[in-house]
Symmetry: C2
Subunit: 236 residues, 2 copies
């Protein structure tokens, strides 16, 4: 797909490998990219600095960080005082809705991107949802994305004026290895990114949470070097 | 409509007349109500205290306040350094999308209510959207509400498990006078509520912004006493 070179996009950046690849994708598609990171009270707050680094490195126009206190809602290992699962087997990852699911997170995040898009005149939103590796997250499915496009049309000034919104999820059907390969091809420096749900105080990845395991598997299967800084040596 | 007496609902409370009436309505419908107020950086922050008072007065189970910094997005007189319009004629109020529209606000608010509902097992969300007096707000229209119900179904664990969400907007088709009459009939103490967009430092209403004018008109047309504390005497 190619788009006119002047169109603006809001790119949701978590600081992880996936959203960095999304930003690189959107840049290649020709969008002027405004990046948005959400400080939602996540325990892995180090990813917010990663998002800022990634935004600059990949040539976004500007970067914003919006705070929303999802801890006040709770219900997830990422925002409440629940343990992040470790060393789950690959068969368990993706079976059912995991405890790291943050209720309605992507609805909140896309809504914030929608608001910013309405302010900046950016009617293309880009997000790293992926139905494959995280099939347990209901708000990462294509039907959710289509429903959000309809919501955007119904609930915004631009929509009321007849404009359509597009939610781009270039990673939706890719496995982690394919995402790594896409990111590599687009020149993403993965050393800038952070994925771990439960990092050490200095930001080093734990190597054992679902996010670390998926990321590591992605590098391995893509035959790519893993630039992640781990808190302890990882088995090879 | 009647519902089983054990069902829980999330009621979005702004602290204003409308959402207080919604809470009273939900209580009469038999819901166990969990109220949610959003601190979004609004200049009329005094309404957050009103929300807390209203929640207690109308017998909600509990009250939560979630912060989301919509100032980082801007684009509205309610969150950015723009002047709140004053003394607009009735014909202008409701013509076009007003500057007090906060981009994607109701998408963000309902998404937060959705997250809380998922955590608490409350699949009924109640909100004060009204298509009549605020027809200029795109996210107050019935099509937006229906689109959000579809989003809720697509994007939550409960929805993925086959459950439907209902967004109740009991005020959708009422004018302000009818809302006042409904609130009166349901025993709402309007003196606890706050509507003004641009209150004095002590919380007194300005009497001139769109919210004040609509509220005042509602009391007048309903033939009800206006308990609002104004910063200056109002013409009668």
């Amino acid at each position: 797909m190619t788009v006119a070179r002047v169109e603006r996009a809001i790119v949701l950046l978590s600081g992880g490998l996936d959203s960095a690849t999304c930003l690189a994708w959107a840049r290649r598609e020709g969008f002027r990219c405004h990046t948005l990171a959400i400080d939602y009270g996540q325990r892995h707050r180090v990813e917010l600095e990663a998002a800022r680094r990634v935004s600059i490195a990949l040539g976004a126009q500007d970067h914003r960080q919006v705070a929303v206190d999802l801890r006040a809602i709770g219900g997830s290992a990422l925002t409440a005082d629940l343990d992040v699962p470790k060393e789950r087997s690959a068969s368990k990852i993706g079976a059912g809705v995991p405890i790291t699911y943050v209720p309605a997170r992507n609805s909140v995040f896309l809504s914030l991107a929608l608001g910013l898009g309405e302010v900046l005149g950016a009617y293309d939103l880009v997000a790293g949802m992926n139905a494959l590796d995280y099939s347990g997250y209901p708000d990462c499915r294509p039907e959710f994305v289509r429903a959000f496009e309809a919501l955007a049309k119904a609930g915004t000034r631009a929509g009321a004026e007849g404009r359509s919104w597009r939610i781009h999820t270039p990673l939706m059907a890719l496995d982690k290895a394919a995402i790594v390969r896409l990111g590599q091809a687009l020149g993403v420096d993965f050393a800038l990114t952070h994925s771990c749900y439960d990092p050490a105080p200095d930001g080093a990845a734990c190597g054992a949470c679902d996010a670390c395991q998926l990321r590591r598997k992605g590098f391995l299967e893509a035959g790519a070097d893993d630039p992640t800084r781990y808190a302890a040596p990882q088995p090879s």
